[in-house]
Symmetry: C2
Subunit: 623 residues, 2 copies
């Protein structure tokens, strides 16, 4: 993901190297869930089509619990939407991780000749500023037995739970290991269980099973993934024992894990799904594993050099490990890279904001601020969810089914990826004075503009052509960033949009047709502001509310057509954009959207100055 983004933003094979120990993309097993937010990001990158068309779409989550009717054993107690907040995609997708890798690799090869360098093992990483202070990260790697050492400005460790980057630099994951042991199996199910095509949480007196429907395979049949809690192997009351050291606990669990067999997992699933039967159709097992993973997180995602400049970054499973059941791993990990990539590019291209001696890389440092917070939330969510799910419902101990459903609902903002909120930092500015806030409402999950949250996609009617457009799509189109801003040279060799741009969302007010109105003035000042920034770093999106009369291009400031002809929309024709975003059409508002689609700041329509201040803190303009 990171390699793909950096290649698309314009880093050539000479500047960018991605290595992988594995000889090829993954063949089976591992992660398979794609959150709606991840799909949104894929869509803006133009790589979502195959997933949209061919993945299994999970629209609903069914809750099965012990039935008061003893003969029924279990019964469906509720069906909820899998994705509760509004989102561009109303489902979670499941598709084999190998296909995701292949989709990305195919796209990568449009931008990079080399692609991923496979069969290459990372041996060691050190930071050594003596040799070459500009390229202080020294990396030793081994390709098919041949060792070589390279120097780089930046290194990103996306090398998984057993990260060599992390270990080489002496970083340690922190956190408690929980002892729930789970079996996971991908199979073609022969079953009379009625919800086998729905995601299900099944709690029965005989144990817990999670059903994850998956995509169709070449035979035309549908895969099902089962996560099975294997309780009989956990010594009863284990949680109540005096705390062991993490080491001994994990050794314990490892031993217990080796006792788990495919037959044991299948039997446990069959027991928990009684009175229904379930078995592999014609013995078809695609993949299985047993795992027990603690919830752990790295305290620092960034390693700095002696001048306090960020040099090495840890992303994904290398900095947060947790259980796979909520389908978070691949998503949160890719979003780490999505958060980091544009910041690295700004830094490398000399577009990052002015540094101070004690903080030479303020933009890069926001990666820690933003993603460490999300990793913490992930770990906490996973701990709760795993415990909840391993527990038996409806029994006297543990959660009630209502509590479980409620927790599912509450956590859906997080699990869908749509409710992620970054804390305040230079990229996320929240005005402390509420009277200056042009946005009303707090239902951020439903779209109310909120710095730190992603901009909700909405359908808009475009003025120029009457086309019905998705707001997120303004970003697709051309994606190679042609700016070369090194050595502080401004070049403007293209007008094409890019995913690396900041965007100013200008919600004009009802006075748009008044030449002397607040809207007209703001638009004119905005056009000047954009021209004062490095070319192609900022683009403008303009919305108008319902106006009292029909109008033409000639009735509004010329700059709208000049700067935003194909990004000027009617905000009331298809949906009520102003109400969704929490903006009063009488007053309008401004918002800056970061290159990764998150709201950076909101300001009153007349307050172009605040927008400018925000942008000057994000983008270097002083040479």
């Amino acid at each position: 993901m990171l390699d793909l983004l950096l290649a698309r933003y314009g880093l050539s094979d000479e500047s960018l190297l991605c290595i992988d120990t594995k000889p090829s993309t993954l063949k089976s097993g591992q992660a398979d869930g794609i959150q709606p937010r991840t799909l949104e990001v894929f869509k803006t990158l133009g790589i979502s089509d195959e997933i949209e068309n061919e993945a299994c779409q999970m629209w609903q989550f069914a809750f099965w619990n012990p039935s008061p009717d003893k003969e029924k054993i279990i019964e469906r107690t509720a069906v909820m939407p899998e994705v509760i907040p509004p989102a561009r995609f109303g489902y979670e997708a499941t598709i084999h991780q190998g296909r995701i890798e292949r989709i990305m690799e195919t796209d990568l090869l449009r931008y990079s000749k080399r692609g991923v360098l496979r069969n290459t093992r990372l041996v060691d990483v050190v930071i050594d500023e003596n040799g070459d202070a500009e390229f202080p990260v020294v990396v030793t790697m081994n390709t098919n037995g041949t060792e070589r050492t390279v120097r780089t400005k930046y290194l990103v460790g996306a090398d998984g739970a057993h990260s060599v980057v992390r270990q080489s630099l002496g970083l340690k994951l922190e956190g408690e290991s929980l002892d729930h042991i789970w079996g996971v199996v991908d199979l073609v199910a022969d079953t009379n269980f009625p919800d086998i095509r729905r995601r299900c949480g099944i709690h029965s007196p005989a144990g817990s099973v999670m059903v994850i429907p998956r995509e169709r395979i070449a035979t035309g049949e549908y895969l099902t993934r089962l996560y099975v809690h294997v309780p009989e192997i956990v010594s009863p009351g284990d949680d109540q024992l005096p705390a062991k050291t993490t080491e001994s606990k994990s050794e314990d669990a490892r031993q217990r894990r080796t006792k788990i067999t495919l037959g044991g997992i299948l039997k446990q699933a069959a027991d928990a799904m009684q009175p229904y039967y379930i078995r592999p159709k014609d013995g078809a097992i695609d993949w299985w594993a047993a795992y027990q993973i603690g919830q752990r997180v790295l305290p620092e995602f960034i390693v700095k050099d002696s001048k306090n400049a960020a040099r090495v970054f840890i992303v994904g499973d290398a900095c947060h490990t947790h259980s796979p059941k909520a389908g978070q791993g691949m998503n949160v990990s890719m979003m780490d890279s999505y958060n980091l990539a544009w910041k690295l590019i700004y830094q490398i291209n000399g577009l990052a904001p002015t540094s101070t001696p004690d903080n030479p890389t303020p933009l890069l440092n926001t990666y820690q601020t933003e993603r460490h917070e999300i990793a913490q939330q992930l770990i906490e969510f996973d701990r709760k969810f795993s415990t909840m799910f391993s527990g038996q419902m409806g029994a006297t101990e543990g959660l009630t089914q209502e509590e479980f459903q409620q927790a599912f609902k509450l956590n859906n903002g997080f699990t869908s990826g749509c409710g992620v909120e970054y804390p305040e930092n230079i990229l996320v500015v929240r005005d402390s004075n509420p009277s200056l806030n042009p946005v009303q409402g707090t239902d951020y999950l439903s779209g109310i503009l909120r710095p730190g949250r992603r901009l909700l996609n909405i359908k808009l009617l475009r003025h120029a052509d009457g086309g019905q457009r998705d707001l997120h799509d303004g970003k697709i189109q051309v994606v190679i960033w042609l700016i070369r801003f090194r050595a502080f040279q401004l070049t403007n060799d293209t007008d094409t949009p890019s995913t690396g741009r900041f965007r100013i969302l200008c919600l004009t007010s009802q006075d748009l047709l008044d030449r002397e109105g607040v809207s007209a003035k703001a638009l004119e000042r905005m056009a000047i502001l954009i021209a004062n920034f490095p070319a192609s770093t900022i683009e403008q999106i303009v919305l108008h509310p319902r106006l009292h009369r029909f109008f033409e291009w000639g009735d509004i400031p010329d700059c709208v057509k000049q700067t935003s002809e194909m990004r000027f929309y009617d905000g009331s024709a298809l949906v009520d954009a102003y109400s969704i975003y929490g903006v009063d059409p009488a007053h309008g508002a401004l918002a800056v959207i970061r290159p990764d689609g998150y709201v950076g700041v909101v300001a009153q329509l007349g307050d172009v100055k605040q927008v400018e201040e925000y942008l000057r803190a994000c983008i270097r303009t002083i040479l």
Copy 2:
């Protein structure tokens, strides 16, 4: 298109050869409009993504006419939706024909190693049954100077207006040639005309222009196509002169056409668009041409051998020529192939219905019945539309603008491709007894089921997983047809769906939960019926209306889950499918959908016999 379809239906490179005179796909110019119906077909083939994402979407058509205010000269008199009937895509797409060719070629190469054999010119075609009566079509071709002769069972001439196939077999297009001469130019427009991003019909006192917005090009700018009527070159009153022979008229026009220059076209456009200015931005002209094309059609699209068996087929421009302005050419031509391909495959695989001595290829003959009718409609529409459009609006002679708008609206069913209706034949059976018709209503364009029209796509909630699905999507998935039915061997080596299948749409009634009800009986009889046909030729889609109580799989006949688990939908949760299709939920209905998505027959829910009769006339079951 034909080659792609045949390859996907399973014809291997040993059995299938597609030749093209050109050395590569097209680089610029020519056709660019994709109708909503064509997009629907592309979607079912899984090749619509690039067009959906990157084509220009035309959502609206603006009418510009002489203004009563002499200073304004012209004014916008109306804006209408480009696509009026309900359709899966609410726009017409414009994208360069070369990209369509490339999209198809990329997909073709997944099924065929050879792909299209380029640089290969067809020299001659004869039907010669003496040498090999089973392969009577003798084709001489020349690849880069090397000539060779091959024999084939069937030949399709998709070789354009100057078709060698047509000429070799002595076939002649019939019809009158109209003399309107048009210039066409693709440019990046520098203009203050407010509707440059909308499709426009402009009628000014100085002439007529049609504006076709097009896709964005690599520079980030938008192309515009202008069709410009070049009236000054047409001798006034030409239409009133005594009819010349077709030959001399066309010679006349050819001479006049050579006088047309790029400068002349641009000046004519600029004059007609006064008081607005329009000129090529930085002189950027992508392509231009002048053309005058008559409306002509071939009386017979099929050439038969001495035993009256269909052997050679003519499709596309080779059998119907007309003007390009309504964006019909590429679409109608591809739909010719879409109509023909599955029939050829049924014939080749021995699945075509039983023949009689005087009509050995009844299924293939329906190609003539169905597509000749559409070609006639196309020619008539184009004649009307061209005349209408060349005339000046609002003047005393010619059509009023209201008449033009009305004509646009009326013809939209045809121009969108969504209103096409095939005449009755073995594949299109309309019951003559209205009291037996389970479908009420005649608004076929809005979805009322009508044999001969395409099934309207609707959104449905799937029972098995609560997924929100497009009904048309049942067809995507796996597309290689694995049936080999030659020599009347039945093999059932796959359960995967295929675009070559007939589908029975079973709209069950409100008695579905009654074990003895009409619905249950019909479903059970249907399951037996399907099993009696060659494997994989028929699949079933089941809808249910709003029912009086919640139900589970166990409450309905087992055969629904067995035959249609992932094709069983709630017809009332997302849209009112029954009312859209004109079916009374109290009585239900059956419909057979042909492999190309057109309704073949509708029958009462209890009348499985009629469905069976229809299918037996379409698919061979007697060995």
